[in-house]
């Protein structure tokens, strides 16, 4: 029989997280600091609106690009939060999670062989999506000494005449890094100079603990070259609803909508109705969750200081990214031993790119009580390792 598989797909490395997941799921009594989704339930008024939409029999497709009401709410949200004006009819697309928007956006923009710049450590799907879109992914290895921000020099060095799109993943999973206004202004100059486009993945925008999040699309001359991706998963604790969106220049959104129409048809109708309620009446929920995450973030940073574990202070998302280089182990060795000996799951930094070596992603999407138990075990483990070296 012939080989039924496409080389391009077979050659893509499976997600490093998947591998670790398989080890963890063998362990029945393990506790986890490894999840990339909120611990909160979706606020009840939002769930209630989803249920109500089902009761009213709203079980049909919506238009391909999504409900008009939802797209208008998104535009009003973008105006309110980022001071960016989008035309709901031409510049918005509702997708199945932010993930679909990444895929559609790259497929709509890339010609074979064009380069996509991917700063790492970052979310696991950018590189495979770029490859599937026919791009050549070019990795920018971010540095801990820059708090994993993208500097204009790093960007400048990575740009070639084939560079088409820069992926800008801030606030960042897995590092928790943010880009502040001045950081964005500095790279915007390089972007405009080389006439490249930006895919700004702002799914964690609401989880910023310093100043309010700034979108690169709000800077002068950037809206017309930026696809802004956001969604409901992180801000409103709606991961399972699978709902995200993209805002951007009409010509790109139009082509994205075309692929979306053929591949997906439309995002889930129930989720879209629930999301309208989220945008209309969910600002207080976001703030309550943000305050709770921030308390946990401070708790973890203090715990690391007390156990002498090196970690830059991250101001975004719900991750901290401590450095474990002092123990002379790879991230995977550390995570595996920590799991075996203390039954706590964390994700090795290398799951998010080679330059994550020497780091761990620790999620604080857990209650303080749970964090305390897990961090107690981390301290015990760290002290034991230091004793062994000792």
């Amino acid at each position: 029989m012939r080989n039924p598989l496409a080389d391009k797909v077979v050659e893509i490395k499976p997600s490093g997280i998947r591998k670790f997941f398989d080890i963890v799921s063998e362990m029945k009594d393990a506790i986890s600091l490894g999840v990339g989704e909120p611990d909160f339930d979706t606020p009840w008024h939002i769930r209630d609106e989803g249920i109500y939409s089902l009761e009213r029999g709203r079980t049909f497709y919506t238009s391909n690009a999504g409900l008009k009401e939802l797209r208008q709410e998104i535009c009003s949200y973008m105006k309110r939060k980022n001071n960016i004006e989008y035309d709901w009819a031409k510049e918005t697309l509702i997708t199945v999670g932010g993930s679909e928007a990444i895929d559609m956006g790259l497929r709509a923009m890339i010609n074979p062989g064009e380069e996509v710049l991917i700063p790492q450590p970052s979310y696991v799907s950018y590189e495979p999506c770029a490859i599937l879109a026919g791009a050549k992914p070019v990795i920018i290895n971010l540095k801990a000494e820059n708090e994993f921000r993208l500097t204009p020099q790093e960007l400048e060095e990575a740009v070639t005449d084939k560079t088409k799109v820069l992926i800008l993943p801030y606030p960042n999973n897995p590092t928790g890094a943010i880009m502040e206004r001045a950081d964005l202004e500095a790279i915007a100059e390089v972007i405009k100079k080389h006439d490249i486009f930006v895919m700004s993945d702002e799914i964690y925008a609401e989880l910023s603990y310093k100043e309010k999040h700034v979108s690169i699309a709000s800077l002068p001359g950037m809206k017309e070259r930026t696809i802004l991706i956001n969604g409901f998963s992180k801000a409103y604790a709606m991961t399972g609803w699978r709902l995200g969106y993209a805002c951007g220049p009409a010509d790109i959104i139009q082509q994205m909508t075309k692929i979306h129409q053929f591949a997906i048809m439309c995002a889930p109708t129930t989720s879209q109705y629930a999301a309208v309620e989220a945008l209309k009446n969910g600002d207080a929920d976001i703030e309550n969750m943000r305050v709770a995450y921030n308390q946990r973030r401070r708790y973890l940073m203090n715990a690391f200081r007390e156990m002498g574990l090196e970690c830059f202070e991250p101001y975004g998302a719900f991750y901290v990214f401590p450095c474990i280089k002092e123990f002379g182990m790879t991230s995977e060795e550390f995570a595996t031993r920590f799991l075996e000996e203390e039954k706590v799951a964390v994700v090795p930094g290398t799951a998010f790119g080679d330059c994550g070596e020497g780091f761990l992603r620790i999620s604080y999407a857990y209650s303080l009580e749970n964090l305390k138990v897990a961090i107690g075990r981390l301290e015990r483990f760290v002290n034991r390792l230091r004793g062994e070296k000792g």
């Binding site: 997600s15 997280i17 670790f20 997941f21 963890v24 799921s25 393990a30 986890s32 490894g34 999840v35 990339g36 989704e37 611990d39 979310y123 696991v124 799907s125 999973n173 305050v291 308390q295 946990r296 401070r298 708790y299 203090n302 799951a345 994700v347 799951a351 303080l368």
Partner: protein, 160 residues
Amino acid sequence: MREELLAIIEKNSRIDLKELAVILGVQEIDVVNELQALQDEGVICGYHTLINWEKTSLDKVTALIEVRVTPQRGQGFDNVAERIYKYPEVRSVYLISGGFDLMVILEGKTLREVSSFVSDKLAPLEPVLSTATHFILKKYKDHGTIFTQKPEDERELITP
């Protein structure tokens, strides 16, 4: 930090001072001073424990009593409210808008004890026009805490 501090200790008054300082991102001495100020100002009025008495062997009956009263000249409802809240078995007294005036929450050992309080003490008060007593049969949720279910983490252990 005041409102954030209050929100935390309203849910967990047993949290220790050092931890409070850490999660609020301030010094421990600032927390101590703020708590003292809040107590002095009467913002913090006590530290209680939320108990689901239904799970104990102790018998308790709680009743909500709607009370309609005639307000008194110059006093409004305050006087009669005071007459009522001085009884130790009265847990709470609220002035209410709508069809009645005072909501009295009463705790007793038995139905008989509660009803005799109403008939012997509450109803005979001169300004009281009428009462309607509702006994609580089951507490599903109290002080923001759901009694009937234990939350479980149903998430996958590792997700990107």
